[in-house]
Structures are given as C-alpha cells and as structure tokens.
Amino acid sequence: MTAAVQTLDISPVGRVEGDLDVRVDIQDGVIVNAWTQAELFRGFEVILRDKDPQAGLVVTPRACGICGASHLTCAAWALDTAWKTEVPRNAILARNLGQIVESLQSLPRHHYGLFMIDYTNKNYSKSKYYEEAVKRWSPFTGTNYEIGVTISGRPVEIYALLGGQWPHSSYMVPGGVMCAPTLTDVTRAWSILEYFRRNWIEPVWLGCSMERYEEIKSHDDFMAWIDERPEHANSDLGLYWRMSQDIGADTYGRGYGRYVSWGYLPHEDKYNKPTIDGRNAALIMKSGVYDGKTDSHKLMDQKYTREDTLHAWYDEPGGLHPFDRTTVPTRKNAVDMDRKYSWSTAVRHEQDGRLEAGPLARQMVAGGKHGEAWQHYDPLVLDMFRKLGGASVMLRHFARMHEGIKLYRQAEHALREFRLNDPWYIKPTEKDGRGWGATEAIRGALCHWIEVQGGKIKNYQIIAPTTWNVGPRSADGARGPMEESLIGAPIADPHDPVEVGHVCRSYDSCLVCTVHAHDARTGEELARFRTA
C-alpha cells in the first residue's frame, strides 16, 4: 500500500435522485465499517403541503424518473383510501399493468446498463469467463448490452398505450384510471410483450422457454437446469450465475438477513373498496417481513413504520410514524459521522428494527406460507437463501431478474381480464381524511401517506425503497441495511475496491454512490469512485 492518497473514479453508472456517498473503512483487506450519505434534498413533502389533494399525482411521479409509475400507484391508492372511493376492476388491472411494465423495462436496463458492466472490470481478467463477459456486456459495444438497453424501451410502450407516455404520466386517479383502452390497445400490448419475450427473455436471458424456466422450484432444480443444456449454461442468466461464483460475488454482501415487502398488485376483484387495513388481504403478491435468523414470516403493516432522524439532516424528533412527521430540513447540512450525515432518514420496523427492501426481500416473502392460499407463492429464492447460507451480491441481483418471468405472467393476466365495455373510472367525492398507498417499485417497498384537511394537503410523506436501504444509523446506533451489507466485504485492491460497487449496485439504490475508501487505522483516504 502506498502512502499517498489515491483518488479514483471508475464506472460511473446509475443514479436517480442525487448523490450518495459511501464511506468504508478497510482493515486487513476487509471492510470493517461503513456509512452511506444521501447528498441531495429537493423537499417534495414540503412542496406538497397546502396543495390540491391530487397534487401528489402530478408531483410524486417526478420524484423519480425510474419509478414514476410506482409513485403514481402509491399516490392514487393513498387518495382512494382517504376519499373512500370505489375502484372498478378494469382500473385495478390497468394500474397493475402500468406498474408491471415499468418494472419489466427496468430489468434489462439495470442489468446491462448498470450491473453487468462491472463484470468486464479488468480486476476479473483472470476469470475464465472474462473474455466472453467483455464480448457480451461491454458498454455500448457489447453484443448483449446493445440488445438489452435498446429493448428496455419496449415494455413501457404499453404504459404509453394506457397513460400516453413513460416516464411521468398521471393516468391513475382516485376512482380509477383516465384511459378507456380499446381492443387495438390490448392486441398491440400483447404483441409488444411477445416481442420482448421472443427477442430477449427466451433467446438471450434464459436460453430456454419461459415454461421450462417456470419448472424450477428449488436450488437443486436450478443447478440441474444449468447443466441440462449448453443453451442454459451459456445464456446470460447461466453465465451470470457461473461467473458470479467464479469471481466470488456469492460470498459477500450479506446484510441483516431481515426483509420487508409491502406486497403489491391488488387483485382486480378484491380491492374495489380500498381501505388501509384491507390491503394485505387483497394483494396478489403478499406483504411480509421475513427474519432469516428465526426463518419466520409475518405480514407487514404500515402502522409499524418509524423514522429516526438522529443521524439525518432533519430538525425533528426521532422515532415518529410518517403521519406525525413535519419534514424540517437542517439548514446547515455539515457532514459529521458521529451526528448527522444524510438526507435519508433511518427507517425501521417498530418491533423488528432495520429491514432490507427490494426484489430479494420480495422473493423472501414470496417463499412464506403466511398470507392466504390464493396469494402468490414461490419457494425458489428462499430455498437458495437457505442452501447458500444467506444473501449475497449474486443472490440479491438474481432475485431481481427472477421476478421478471412472474411479472410477465401478471401482465398477460391483466390483458386477459380487461372487460373492455365495463367502466374504468367511478367519479369519487372529494373529502378530508387520511390515506395510505403502497406498492413494490422494482427496487423495493414504496409507499405514500397523505392527510387531507380542509380540502388541501396537510401532510404528505414518502418512504422509498432507497430510504429503507441507504438510511444512516438509527437512534440505537444500528447501521442501515446497505451499511451492514458492506461489512465483511473483501477488498482485493484497496485502490480499486470494485467489491464495494457490487454491493451497492446489487441494491439498485436510486442514488449514485460515491464511495470513499479509508484505512481503518489511519483514517487515510485510499480511493474514491462512483457507482450506482
């Protein structure tokens, strides 16, 4: 190790809402401490105060250009529960379809545009898969990079059929949706889905039919599938798995092993009179908290949500439920790791503490027997979690991609179930009240709380998946989930700690991360680079 401080910037990739700084301390080649800092404040909750009750439908999709449909979904359901609307089944299906196609878009876009580029990092040039990785996944010039990034624009064409454009439509409104699709919209959407399947999912990603892939129910099934045919082993999925093991991406990035999902996709016939308390029983993909230590599942409820602000730049009491928050930003946002160091609050479950949100969390919950018999159940990723001894960078990203096939089926379901001559909207009566709307954005648990008083917004609060994951330490000193996941990551080259990038990118946080690596003993800065 040289004495001079070396500053590096490598692989600038994904971001959404601003900058995230990650500081890690390295000792004997291993990360021993970590801090994540969100570095941008725009104040959407402050802007929404005293505005039209429906202002959230316009403003919140613009909180995030990647997850706009997810924000819109939350904003609409929050008003539905506040106004006690009736939502026709067509509208539930049309909202679900919008949510689904946004997530389908994100799969190849994040996978090729942001995640796989790291597998072409020169640090892995000794891997036997390196040459193939460079051929397929190099930015712009990689064969499958170009296929994946270009085809990622197709699924959201379906969003445009429903809402006019993606990103940033507001077609979901309390009482239903603005659109009334016709048969040609439905048939066109089918053909777009088919195109996505025939040109990417099956030939490039899986190397087999979706039906064959859907037979995989366990870790053993999956390993047998890889060995079954060269097309499987050499597909982008097969190569991802094999190379991940070869470069050790299955050995770190573990985290707390406790997960949260709000669940999503309300059933078209079960949430027509939406209430906050009635949501769990209406969801196709059930909500839940999974604790890996006790291997137990339970349902999640918004009432357990708490936000600590001891280490966040807000001058408010900590430990509040979002309905009780006032969003008072600290004017002087000086960075002090012992005091305040982030615009993100530290979100926790009142009983279970810090929880990881995201696609892996959804799959941990999907493997539980809690909930109702008709709700979605999928044992695969939880079985892998048990067999592989916990989470890792590899498993976290696999879970994200695995969900794609299931979302595809749910999109087909929506297209089959539309009753084109039935209503899409039932005009509601505006009233005062409290509402809550939630969904699962591709990157995890998202929800909005609204309080309408005197015909305007009294309080609007958003907790994004990134808030769960990249939050700073909570009042009790517990690290945020991403901070915790960094602990124990081996750093082969402290001047180019690509392993940190893998951990951060596996969370697909909505912030670009700038990573600062420090020597744990001397505090000397070793490297600084940007990641997703």
Binding site: P12, F41, R42, P53, G153, G164, Y171, R331, W424
Partner: protein, 320 residues
Amino acid sequence: MANLLWLQGGACSGNTMSFLNAEEPSACDLVTDFGVNVLWHPSLGMELGENLQKMLRALVAGELPLDIFVFEGTVVNAPDGSGEWNRFAGRPMKQWVADLAKVANFTVAIGDCATWGGIPATAPNPSESEGLQFLKRQHGGFLGKDYKSKAGLPVINVPGCPAHPDWITQIVVAVATGRGGDLSLDEFQRPKTFFTSFTQTGCTRNMHFAYKVSATEFGQRKGCLFYDLGCRGPMTHSPCNRVLWNRQSSKTRAGMPCLGCTEPEFPFFDLAPGTVFKTQTVMGVPKDMPAGVDKTGYIKLTAAAKAASPRWAEEDIFVV
C-alpha cells in the same frame, strides 16, 4: 466527433430515462454512428479509467474541448445561496455548472427543471432551485440573461417533464453533425422546429374540441379534455401529437389532460387547491383561452360550434 458531458442537479433522472427510450437514433447509435463521445453521464456505463474530477478540471481549464454540455435537473442554491444541498464531486454542483458553462461550445438544458425550475421550484421552492437561464417565465436564471455559450447561442432549452427522447437526440445529432447553426430558438430559447406547433396539433380529440363536445369525466370514450378536465393542449407549445411518445401515443390521446409541461409556468397555478385536472373558469368561460383567442371570440366560436355539432359527436367514438 463531439465531446458530450451530461450532469444532473436537482433531478429525478426522468430525462435520462426518456432519452434511453430513443430509437432513431438510439443512445447506442449516437455513440457508434454519430461519433458522440460521451465523456461522462451519471447513468451510462462507461469506464472512465481516470479521475472524474481530473477530467472536469481539464474541461474547465480548456485542455479538453467540451462541445456539448447537457444539464438535467435544477440548479440548487439552498441553503442561502450556497448550493450545499446538492453536492457533487466534492463541491456544490452549482459551482461546477458555472465553470463548465463558460467553456462549453453548446449548453443544453434538458427538461423543465434545467430550463425553468420545474417541480422543485414550485412554491415554496424549498431547495431554492432555478433553471439555467430562466426561473419560470423570468429570464436570467442561474447563468444570467446575457449568457452565451462559445458558439454564440444562449442555453438551448429543451423543456418537457420529461423531454421527448427525439427532441433530445435530434438536437445532439444536429450539433454533432455541424448543423448547430441551423438551430433557431423562440423567445424561451426552445428550438422552433419542435415548439412552434401546439400540443393540440394532431390530437385525436380535435373534432370534439371543434364541436365543443366535452369529456366531462375520466374514462370516457369521446370528448375533448379542454372544457372540463383542465387540458392545456390548445395553449401549450409542443409536438406531443406530431412526434408520438414511446412510438405509440400521447397523454391527450390516452385520455390524460395536457399539463402544459413545456411551458415555463408548469406546474400551473402552483397546484393550488381546486386547480388539478379541473378547467379554471370565470362565469363558465375558461380563464386560459386557446392561444390567440379572446373572450368574445371564444363565446361566438363555441356557440356556433355547439349549434353546428353533429349528432355523432355526442356518441362514443373511441369504441372497443
């Protein structure tokens, strides 16, 4: 070969996401076919192999030419003008913007945030945000009203929330192929080729507008969204119904009222109670008229339209 640098301030990345939906040319085509050399972009995965700050400093020092400087998001000035609420590469983003705008051949503001301040600048504008050369309708913005890039143009404003991918790629291609001089800008510095016609131009509901047949609530299969649902299509400049979105549709075609997001006032009325998805009227006459129409003309026009309206116009037209 044109060097392009794309930075984000108070942004949601919506314009980047929109840009990645482009097909003719696609983001990859810009690089491989048009020789656009993307020096850095927060989402596009180039390995730099060198220090980002070092590269930024080389650009600022003029050692590396900056042909196109694209800025997405607002310039954040909070708190108290310092810009510390949006830090980037070790300092407030606004300081980078000031330095880079001085050396850029063309400076392009992408999306409402960078052009006029957009959603973050909505009252009470907690982040003290502004656009590069405007704050809402007020000329000046962060760079000042006299700012000109090295090519002699003011900031090229490509508004929209988000901007359509074609609006972005066509401007980049024009500059990269040496046609930057052909860009002609309107009073808000928007390229005239896109922002002279109206959102309503090409809308599938134009006949309902002409006969004053209103969509009175959402989810209907007929009617114009202007009369009751607050659509701003007749007074908003954009090609949304000429250059379709995601190759398929537009908001007004799908049944969503235009929010006027290519105009400096977006979001209109600061989203005050009673203004969202509702046409603002005085004695039954819209407060905001179709561009160039006065109140007397409007009353005459709609009376005649109603009287002449054929029966089919009242029946469903966008049928299953």
